[in-house]
């Protein structure tokens, strides 16, 4: 612990009691569950809600077993040691805390699809799958079962209601930490139960609150990587869990350029590590197939004309109408690109790009924005490449 003198220290933030109560929107004393990962963000959420006068119950999902041969795992999340951290925070705050064994569900809904996707030539987004299955389904159900009136998480996104009473999910105030992209599977019924109290805070404010609340996790490193993959690269992890197909690298005409031993080493838009002879124009992965074929082309060949999202789920509950202009974000931290709704067919949404978008990988999340508001999203299931962008 740093022992700085009080004169060096910035003033500790005041307890944002009024803001928390306004954000939670429930009478003081209401029972609120907090999804506690053991990290600083969700720990601070629990602490702020205790200060605001709620009956807080901490829930930590145990998601997977850690490979005992893997020693250092800084920045993991939801591993057994993180459950202990969450328990420690609960002890500091004097709240009830339960560890939920969700290993089976996590394997079924997150790990297995992750492997299946890599094997089938897609680039999965396990964080979205985890939010959909674990946080928005299982944890919400557990919280409701415990009689909680809401479930709060430490996500950096803002969730409230618009003037028509529809759920409004917006980017977090701290754009460096914004997680709105991963949260699109939020459907209206669940949105009304969830709270993201950190949405209007910066990471620094959150850390300051962690210090002020004397939470032992306030200097814990960020969890950034895919939790169950740990320190490994996803391709190595896939290789050590049954592997992905080997195959050939071909150009757009189908001419064989080389071979590879693991389809999971490649993702659309990738330039490095193709193992092709140097010289000439830079080459990119433009497509992958389940038979192991990796198609390589020029940067221009990455240009996306159309995207299909399946299943499309709406945060607001409203269906998008053909012709509507939206922003489409296809990767975490990418800027949304202008697109037009071309077709709505059941749970399928087809978007025609109106601006340059290079490289969209099947399996990734395609998230539909109106400015900074998330309208909905879906898994990218089809990408039409071409010269369509104007």
């Amino acid at each position: 612990m740093n022992q700085a003198t009080t004169t060096d220290m910035p003033q500790p933030p005041a307890a944002p009691v009024a803001e928390m109560r306004a954000d939670i929107g429930l009478p003081v004393g209401s029972r609120v569950a907090v999804a506690m990962s053991g990290g600083v963000d969700s720990s601070v959420v629990a602490g702020l809600l205790v200060e605001a006068g709620y009956e807080v119950i901490g829930l930590t999902a145990r998601l997977y077993d850690v490979d005992p041969t893997e020693v250092a795992r800084p920045g993991s999340c939801c591993a057994p040691e993180d459950a202990r951290d969450a328990r420690g925070v609960s002890a500091t705050l004097g709240i009830r805390h339960y560890v939920l064994d969700e290993r089976e569900i996590f394997h079924r809904d997150v790990i297995q699809p992750f492997l299946d996707d890599w094997r089938a030539g897609r680039t999965p987004n396990p964080c979205v799958a985890c939010n959909r299955s674990l946080k928005f389904d299982r944890l919400v159900a557990r919280a409701r079962a415990l009689g909680a009136q809401a479930l709060a998480t430490g996500h950096y996104a803002r969730l409230d209601r618009d003037e028509n009473g529809r759920a409004r999910l917006r980017r977090g105030q701290d754009r460096g930490k914004d997680q709105a992209y991963f949260l699109y599977p939020l459907e209206p019924d669940v949105a009304s139960f969830l709270r993201f109290p950190l949405g209007a805070m910066s990471k620094q404010e959150v850390r300051d609150h962690g210090q002020r609340l004397d939470l032992a996790v306030s200097d814990k490193p960020e969890s950034m990587d895919i939790c169950f993959v740990g320190a490994k690269k996803p391709a190595e992890w896939v290789a050590s869990h049954g592997g992905a197909p080997s195959g050939t690298l071909v150009d757009l005409s189908g001419m064989r350029l080389g071979k590879h031993d693991n389809l999971a080493k490649f993702t659309v838009g990738q330039r490095r590590g193709l193992g092709l002879p140097g010289g000439g124009e830079a080459k990119y992965v433009v497509a992958k197939a389940a038979d192991g074929t990796v198609t390589v082309g020029d940067h221009a060949d990455l240009r996306v004309e159309r995207l299909t999202l399946t299943p499309y789920s709406s945060v607001t509950g409203d269906e998008l109408k053909p012709g509507r202009r939206v922003g489409i974000q296809v990767r975490h931290r990418a800027r949304p690109v202008s697109a037009e709704v071309e077709l709505v067919n059941g749970d399928q949404l087809v978007l025609r790009l109106c601006a340059d978008l290079h490289g969209a990988a099947c399996g990734q999340a395609g998230v539909v924005f109106d400015e900074e508001r998330v309208l909905g999203g879906g898994t990218i299931t089809d990408v039409t490449r071409g010269a369509g962008a104007q």
Partner: protein
């Protein structure tokens, strides 16, 4: 810090409340200051005398001699000391236990190098099947080097006919060592070392009003174990400075056993009232080990709430102020389905194990506790059923 202790405590099989006499005895010791019972000086002798006085009471409580009592850190250590301390001549010895045994018995047997583990069959009511055991053990080619039998099941409260089983085994396998775990039996049924006829007997403090961290192993005269914790203390049978506070607490609690036994009819009446109330709820229930008075302690109600998850029930009841348990708590705080219940319900009804709660009562339980528990169970089962229909 406020306490999270629920107002209704129905988990006496996990840990019984400290009795006022035990609290007083501990308080006196804490006030008197510490000394090492192995020290020569008067303070050390005071400690030694206190332990020896406790040993006399402990021995008397189970019809043993003081020199046969080895104090341990609890029943788990006593079980390990008994099982792993066995000295046998067979090249590949065979240890028998049953699904009713505490996990520490299974762990101790598994830790024996080159031993073979065998399990006695149990009946659907949670008793060792003596007829089947006879068939298995009563042959000349059956090998029995060690038998570990549980007098009272921690999860069901069922009483095993230990002396009958011992008689069977002694007749065909006179050299076999026989251990009995009486952790859950003490204070609930008669425990007499002589009439049980066993060589080794495990006792636990925190099931009878002493704190966790103290227990005892009773060792028959002439039987030499290989100490798991070698050292000069406890007659060279268990190393480590004696736990003075624990020993005195265990002695005090053993001195109160007549009082505890006298309360058992009252406890049984409360338990029966609890079942009467719960069986009338709308939720479908299946009671385990519903057998005659002489076959179970009357302190425990093991009941499956069909279609509901035991871990959800435990958490929900806790939040409503009622402490019960289910299965066995693992290190991370998650629950896994009880192997004891899984063994008695059979594969066809394996789902029942994950729906089973254990309510366990003791002399401190009251009619108000029972009424409150029934009301809370009504509330949470209704809420969980609603939640499942969502």
């Amino acid at each position: 810090m406020s306490s999270l202790r629920p107002s209704i405590y129905l988990d006496h099989h996990a840990s019984a409340p400290l009795t006022p006499a035990v609290r007083a005895a501990i308080g006196t010791l804490l006030g008197a200051g510490a000394a090492n019972p192995s020290s020569i000086h008067g303070a050390g002798q005071d400690a030694r005398h206190a332990i020896d006085r406790a040993r006399v009471v402990i021995a008397r409580a189970v019809g043993a001699k003081p020199r046969q009592v080895v104090l341990t850190s609890g029943a788990t250590e006593a079980n390990h000391a008994a099982i792993r301390g066995c000295v046998v001549t067979a090249a590949r010895p065979v240890a028998w236990s049953s699904a009713l045994a505490h996990p520490s018995v299974h762990a101790a047997i598994a830790a024996l190098p080159n031993w073979e583990a065998q399990s006695l069959p149990i009946t659907p009511t949670g008793h060792i099947d003596l007829a089947a055991a006879r068939q298995l053990l009563d042959t000349t080619d059956a090998r029995v080097d060690l038998l570990s039998v549980t007098l009272v099941s921690n999860e069901l409260g069922t009483i095993q006919r230990v002396s009958e089983l011992v008689g069977q085994v002694r007749a065909s396998h006179p050299k076999a060592l026989i251990h009995c775990d009486a952790s859950q039996a003490l204070g609930r049924v008669d425990v007499d070392f002589g009439s049980l006829g066993v060589d080794l007997l495990t006792l636990s403090g925190h099931k009878i009003g002493a704190p966790a961290g103290i227990g005892a192993l009773i060792i028959a005269d002439g039987l030499v174990l290989r100490p798991v914790l070698p050292g000069h203390q406890e007659g060279e049978r268990r190393g480590g400075t004696e736990n003075l506070i624990g020993a005195v607490a265990l002695g005090t609690a053993c001195g109160e056993l007549p009082w505890r036994r006298a309360q058992m009819q009252h406890v049984r009446k409360l338990r029966d009232a609890l079942w009467a109330g719960i069986s009338e709820l709308e939720v479908e229930t299946v009671r385990h080990a519903d057998v005659g008075q002489d076959q179970e302690t009357g302190t425990c109600l093991s009941v499956a709430f069909v279609g509901l998850s035991a871990s959800d029930l435990v958490m929900s009841l806790d939040v409503e102020g009622v402490a019960v348990s289910a299965g066995s708590a693992c290190s991370s705080g998650t629950l896994s389905a009880s192997p004891v219940i899984a063994a008695i319900v059979g594969e066809d009804d394996s789902g029942l194990a994950a729906s089973t709660l254990r309510f366990s009562l003791g002399p401190e339980s009251t009619t108000q506790d029972v009424d409150g528990a029934i009301a809370a169970t009504a509330l949470v089962t209704t809420r969980l059923a609603q939640q499942q229909r969502r």
